[in-house]
Amino acid sequence: MADATNAKRMSMIVTKGTLDWAYPPFILATTAAAMGLEVSMFFTFYGLWLLRKKLDLEVSPLGNPAMKMPLGGMHIAMPNLLAALPGATALASSMMKDMIRKKGIASVEELRNLALESDVKMIACQMTMDLFEIKREDLIDGPVLGGAATYIESATQSDINLYI
């Protein structure tokens, strides 16, 4: 919903579907909508998982030396050798979700609902659905199906275009 004072537009391409990468697009989309912008999000490749009805997002410390978790006053990164072990992704994900809850940070589900409530337009990439065999009924209500041309059209009308 756009305010009369500020009817700018923002469009973004959402390409990643891990817990950490789910935050920037939904934070920016909800905030932009709150500031009166019309927002359009195009979900493609792994980003499409963010539109699944049941979100089960995870984050892997493997190959991510910047993922240093606060632990006893220090910051500890998990060595790749350990991060490659079964269960390491589940452990890191539950630690991250625990931190998110404790720090008063919204869950991805909450931000996604807020985005839908504030009329953020969501487009699910049809090609990705075919590629990964994702059915329409696997996704939440709200997003429309489309392709690159749908995104390009909204991008040409936007003041801000982001690729995340």
Binding site: T5, T31, M35, G36, G104, A106
Partner: protein, 75 residues
């Protein structure tokens, strides 16, 4: 005139802004909304929010770690 207050203490970015946007919808134009927050980032954020939406930030202060903002709905 009822006093409109939003308690956003303990919430992190972007929730104070999102809750404020929602709360402002129930504030008649010309009246004010007071927002309480503990997120230090909210100081710059409420300035930017008000500039972008055309609402007026009447007051912004911090006391005992609690930030309080008074926003006048002018849009």
């Amino acid at each position: 005139m009822t006093e409109h207050v939003l308690d956003a203490k303990g919430l992190n970015c972007p929730l104070p802004i999102l809750r404020a946007r929602k709360a402002l919808k129930d504030v008649p134009p010309g009246e004010t909304l007071k927002v309480l927050a503990t997120d230090p980032g909210s100081v710059k954020d409420f300035e930017a929010f008000c500039r972008s939406t055309g609402n007026q930030l009447v007051e912004s202060k911090v006391e005992d770690g609690v930030y309080s903002f008074i926003i006048k709905r002018t849009e």
